[in-house]
Symmetry: D2
């Protein structure tokens, strides 16, 4: 789900450099960026004239500028060329290779019958209302957040939704671009979630504390990872990172009772605090979220830290 | 579930007073206390000689002392006369009226097949091991806590379990007694759970906050109550009280996001804090638990207060 | 300093009742309220016509309305009749008895030479600028707050200051009135400061904790009171109350290290937390300020509670 | 006061390396370490035989082992050779150069007459009682902590104090050694004090917050440093570090009111929180102390973090 999108050139010898892209002729440029904008090589073609780009971010901005420069009708045609979220078009195999992998990461193959019907209705309603498909960068949202966003955006007017679709295509193509191109000024596409457990009963970091991370949705929850804290009270390894965080609701679950018991504290049969859940929302996929737990057997606090 | 056990004489004209019990002759005393100790009128008979009792607590202690004064074999016979938790003995209708109502409050009619089989096996194993039924004051434990206590107590030796059974009968009879008798020095049988919501973003109590209280078990959760806070940030009405709290795991769920939104704070689409769960354990059924929430949209803390 | 301004009729047989004031003839009404408005019996005279008053608050509002109804020149003359804060006028003994006692509570007899000169200059500058004396209800401000308010108000225009003077006279006369009259709907003139100490290392209120309260000023600090917490972690007796709180800066000092040592915690030679100061400001003299300390030997928090 | 004791070889070409010390002949070894142990070249002489030392820590341990191997009388003579804390011996210039600089850092030239007399009496009483001078590594204690330690140690028996003196000489010589020698396995002689300011009203680090650090003593306080936080809420530069922290009492003072006002929050004339002091004790000179402030205008918390 959170694949590393910043594969460096040394790991992937096929990765293009910004220098290469700036230097090659326009046709090669367009061919090299094939797949970033599906069935829309004109975008790269129009952007080629903006070279040289000083940064990869500027390259992406140049590509999106080519889209934004077009009249609304052309933009609508452009958006219409983007694959439908989960309709027959996906199954017909006429999508560019990249779209297929993005949709596999969605979890839409785990929808209940009820959710699938709801999704299909929303999808059809959206297309009927606006005349182009619902476009969203699914890697930046949890599934629940995608469905919520569907409902919310259905209520917008056409102009707003066209702009929203372009913004989302901006996010999608930015993620594809960083997987393909390396160079100075890479766009920031990765967020990070970290935690820290402090035992204020003893006045030191809490080691060996089991911490689970769940994605929380309306119809259930899914465990994403489980970590243990080191001597500094921080997890070995990363909680979430390496790519965009999916906006949505999460829950960190700290097994703090085990920690206090392990330290020989005589706690009641039913300790006041045993398993401590912290539910929080991520709204910025490229943001840094630090969600610590400062605890004694009788109290705790948390805050959005840094 | 938490029926008011302290019905005063003015509400129940049939309620006995301690003065009456001290004054009446022994046979009347025994008859008056019928039902407190099932099928064991000898207890009241033995205790009658200890009159007059200065307090209702002393009366109860006198009754239990009569039991504790007996040799172990008599105590075992006494315990054996206590109704089985959920076996045929219950269905045969040979239990004293009070036992039936206690078991109805257990929720054992909501056990899954798997849990019921587990329960039956534990019950049989206990009786086989110790020669007397598993006795527990079910009003002082959540269902999960009862099952846990079964497993834990199965590992004790016979002497420990006989003492445990007497202790539990002490709790059961104490609850029955306070429903029947009024007088000075009532035993403390009621616990209390309270909360308080403070908005430290604005520096004042949080009004109109929806707070739900759940009992949390291994196989699911049950909502016990829902309250809204008043202008002082405290719930209208009581969260839990009026009788013993059931030892076990609970969760308070504070809909704090709605509060901040209602106050016009511009929060992200996915607010950092929206629904805040606080999971805690109650170990003392007669204790006072104050579990406040001190929150901003970006942080919160809680502690066992007073 | 914080004398009890709500002396009830039962403690002071000379206290007037609202009923009496409503019933007596106008001349008696004016005589009865002598001293509330210094050298300005016309105020009571004008207000007498507004009787009967339903509440003591309404009575006070009626008196102030009589003042506010006058043209600006008359108001200026009225303000000019109010005693100067600490000038010769005070020493000449021509103030009404009430003013003398208010100024004695100020602590202006404890000013350093430098402060006194600064005060005199401000006083003279104010009078020169506005043509009437600086009027402030000194019982609602700490000395530092009075001096700060002097500086701040010197910068206002005449219209603003005239209004400010009347507002202050409103506060002064309201305090005098509640000492003289009893009846329904008493104006709220008393604030309250409370605290609560919770030990989250042990999960219970902290008993026998020594807590000192200081008034903090630019040139030093003065200890106002010292209390010890009871079994519920709250002070025996009141921290501040019984009258208006003086707006200004304060510091609560909690001797929490002694508490932890008394409980046998093995703390380092230099404990991380020993004496914990909490500095806070009071801005609302009639407000309720609850400033708790929630502490372990390694952490603490505080908040404006309720 | 907190001079950098870990001057690397590149900055000080005269710095010896452990390799050099291991390789040179014994006489050169003793000469090279001259000044580490004042007037006691026999220590280095005895330790030379323990070469080669794998780490600088092992070198120091080897030197101290040479001292600890001696009989008590020799140890007493050794301790007696250590300069008196502030007596004539200091002024007579017969101390090794290093001792002079350590005492200059003490601030004993800032003692009031009363304190100086107390100090002189303690010093004389100590020598009279034990027959050797009071030895303490003054760089690891605040002046108040030195005086307290004087009083406390006066109550010990001779054996305990001899051991204490050797331990202190261990600390003193260890600090001298790291200034002179570089190599693998340097002893840990430096502690660190850090802070972090989080604004939980806005949910982000607090930038540009002025933070002062004071040393707090019985007879007054001295400001050690003033810093401003960066965009991550942490001070530019270090609060305390580069050498041992002095055990004692400190106070961080956060000008958080200015921060909230700068962000346009409408706070009362007297804000509830304006200047927030956090008083804490450092007991471990080589420890890491992280003392954050997590604050809104209405609440704050702190804890010993990491």
């Amino acid at each position: 789900m959170n694949e590393d999108v910043a594969v460096s050139a040394t790991l992937n010898p096929a990765l293009l450099t910004l220098d290469d892209l700036n230097a090659m002729d326009a046709d090669d440029f367009v061919a090299a960026l094939d797949g970033i904008f599906e069935h829309a090589s004109w975008v790269a073609q129009a952007a080629a004239a903006g070279r040289p780009f000083a940064t990869v971010t500027a390259l992406h901005e140049g590509l999106m500028a080519a889209v934004r420069a077009r009249p609304a009708d052309d933009q609508i045609a452009f958006v219409s060329g983007h694959p439908d979220l989960a309709g027959k078009a996906a199954r017909a195999g006429d999508m560019a290779a990249a779209s297929v992998s993005e949709q596999a990461g969605l979890g839409f193959d785990r929808l209940s019958d009820e959710e699938f019907e709801r999704f299909e209705r929303l999808n059809a309603a959206y297309r009927a209302r606006f005349g182009f498909p619902f476009v969203v960068c699914v890697r930046r949202l949890t599934r629940d957040a995608v469905l919520d966003s569907f409902e919310r955006r259905l209520g917008n007017d056409r102009e707003t939704e066209l702009a929203a679709a372009l913004t989302e295509i901006g996010y999608i193509t930015r993620l594809r671009l960083v997987e393909k191109v390396d160079g100075p000024g890479m766009p920031k596409v990765a967020g990070r979630l970290s935690t820290h457990v402090l035992d204020t009963h003893q006045g030191c970091p809490a080691e060996h504390v089991r911490v689970e991370l769940f994605e929380v949705g309306r119809s259930g929850r899914a465990r994403l990872t489980e970590v243990f804290t080191n001597a500094d009270g921080r997890p070995h390894g990363v909680l979430l990172g390496g790519g965009p965080l999916r906006a949505g609701t999460y829950e960190l679950v700290f097994h703090i009772g085990d920690h206090f018991r392990a330290h020989g504290l005589a706690l009641p049969e039913q300790p006041f605090l045993d398993v401590v859940p912290i539910r929080f929302g991520i709204s910025d996929p490229e943001g840094h979220y630090h969600v610590p737990l400062v605890a004694t057997p009788w109290s705790y606090s948390t805050y959005r830290g840094s």
